[in-house]
Symmetry: C2
Subunit: 232 residues, 2 copies
């Protein structure tokens, strides 16, 4: 049976993702669960502690994905990693949309976040090195490092970018998910020049799996280019 | 002679960049200029209108850089564009650090921002096409589009990423600038696989010009990897 504490976290996550953390109060969360505000406060003394507990879950999920690989990697594990990245980005999108806000509001969270990013970059580098050893990527050490950092910028910034450009996605979960999937397409494009072997043979298939539109600019803006008065 | 209005904008920009827009009040700005709050309000009715006016300046500066090129491009124009990107990122860093906040706080600004991004992507695409025609980049249409979007994510997200990971840079303008220059290095790395001809011959020189550290992870975290307790 799910504990009250877990139910509070799960409901908060749904509400934060759908409505934005700023628009959700602890009373909204208690209402949605059919529990009293007092019962909620017994488990979490304020909304900040709920955000911190959700960050902890996000962190564990992503770091579990990035455990050092056992043995050589094939293009199928490559897809496994991409699916895992997407799941993290999507399930905890409220966090990435408002990352600067959360880091400024809670110094303890900011400090944990920095340690988390360090671990992500260290583990991500190990995985990219294994992809190179396995013959999936061909690149030198400097290129590998730059690819790792560019992938992390995409992973951690894409949701906020979407949120700023497509406010209509807030009320359309299907659209929101397609936009987020497209972030994984952009990550594949970062890796594309370095792909070789059987993974290169599967490149078109991998791109098609995540690409939400053949015109990314129109996707990001929500209309055909030139239909806005500011296009010229 | 500089008008009071211009002086207010210039001083606000310096204070926002150094202290963060949230920590600067209109009284601080008036004090720094030696004018009365009433005089400031005569020109700008609140801090939001100052932010909007600074966004307007930022927008004009970046769009002027991205005017359609006249004739074929050489690697020297490539450096010109990189310098222009860096200048925009650096001079208006307060805006990128807190972009989500500004877009949420001011719907009119958010709407202008979306039109601005459309124009940036349209003009940026024209420049990348000209770089291809001039023999500097070798890529197909899909790769060109992905490169344009990835470059914009880097350009618009790097300052916020730095701000979240290196709070010590807020009190060290030299460090802050080196971190921002490194964002241009990351943009060069995005383009690297597609560079050819004389620009490829100048690649090492261009990278050295912007790279702030040979270990980006350590640069982003402010310490040697493994020296933090969370590294493993």
């Amino acid at each position: 049976m799910t504990s009250t504490k877990d139910r509070i976290l799960e409901t908060s996550l749904v509400l934060f993702n759908r409505q934005g953390e700023r628009n959700v109060t602890t009373n909204h969360i208690a209402d949605a669960l059919g529990i009293s505000p007092g019962n909620l406060y017994y488990h979490f003394r304020n909304k900040g502690t709920i955000v911190a507990a959700l960050f902890d879950r996000y962190q564990h999920q992503l770091l579990a994905l990035l455990e050092a690989p056992q043995g050589p990697l094939s293009w199928k594990e490559k897809v496994h990693y991409l699916e895992g990245l997407l799941a993290s980005m999507w399930q905890y999108r409220f966090f990435h949309r408002d990352l600067s806000h959360f880091l400024q509001a809670d110094p303890a969270l900011a400090s944990q976040y920095r340690q988390f990013v360090e671990t992500v970059l260290v583990r991500g580098t190990v995985i990219y090195e294994e992809l190179r050893t396995s013959g999936i990527l061909a690149l030198d050490d400097e290129q590998l490092q730059a690819l790792m950092v560019n992938t992390w910028v995409m992973m951690s910034s894409w949701a906020a970018m979407i949120y700023g450009l497509r406010p209509d996605a807030a009320a359309d979960e299907g659209l929101d998910e397609r936009l987020m999937r497209h972030g994984v397409y952009q990550i594949i494009c970062l890796e594309e020049p370095f792909l070789q072997g059987e993974t290169r043979a599967h490149l078109a298939e991998m791109k098609a799996r995540y690409r939400a539109s053949s015109n990314t600019t129109e996707l990001l803006l929500g209309h055909a280019i030139g239909s806005s008065s500011a296009a010229c």
